[in-house]
Amino acid sequence: MLSTVVFWIAAVLAVVGALGVVTTRNPVHTALSLVLTMLSLGVLFLLLHAEFLAVVEVLVYAGAVMVLFLFVVTLLMAGVKPPREEHRMRLAYQTLIAGLFGLILFVLVLHAMVGANWVSTLAGPGGGTFGSIASFGTALFTRYLLPFELTAVVLLVAVIGVVVLGREQE
């Protein structure tokens, strides 16, 4: 019962954060709404017995990636003005069409989920080790070793790319 209450609170907060991401005008508020969504998702991960992932989500996503966003937003948006006038007309239609698309997409996704054949209740608890660091590490280093090494290469490429892009232009 407690898990149901926590689920609903976290789900509502996640949706509130998501709506904040798409509606707020100030980029810092957008970033904070996204952090709220990420924290709610962390709680939901904990409910789904994904303890290591919950911590990784908060540590890496909410704690590092969003801080990076905030760095750029606070440094770059210091003197930014609202969009110019000739863009106003396209802006109104743009939001409407986007909302329409969103509705269609939502209906399609719901149809895919409801029409599918899987069981609607969760499987058993899976013992104490599902989602723990040990089982995660075992899977990561035995069966999924190649993707792990490839992500190391991706990170290296990202670091090199950022260093090159951030250089002073001579």
Partner: protein
């Protein structure tokens, strides 16, 4: 216990909200954050299914998504900073007006 369907519907809602955000935002940083929201929704789906079938593959995939997302954010922000440095208005539609 909460049935898995609830998690999937929540994930769909977040994904769609993120999609609407990507299409309707003009500030490149806010657009990027909407894309981040879509990734998070997908992560939730993965974790829900991993719990459903007790398969760690879902968790591994989320880990990879988070890692690649972090790398992409780093490079994306570097590009945005480079492109919009010293501008007064930050608007993605301006990119079509750039010369050279």
């Amino acid at each position: 216990m909460v049935p898995i369907g609830y998690y999937l519907v929540l994930s769909a809602v977040l994904f769609v909200i993120g999609g609407v955000g990507v299409l309707s935002r003009r500030n490149p940083l806010q657009m990027f954050m909407s894309v981040e929201l879509m990734w998070n929704a997908v992560n939730l789906t993965f974790v829900a299914f991993a719990r459903q079938y007790l398969n760690m593959a879902g968790h591994i995939f989320v880990f990879l998504v988070i890692t690649v997302a972090a790398a992409e954010v780093a490079i994306g922000l570097a590009i945005i900073v480079m492109v919009f440095r010293k501008r007064e208005h930050v608007d993605v539609d301006d990119l079509s007006l750039m010369k050279g």
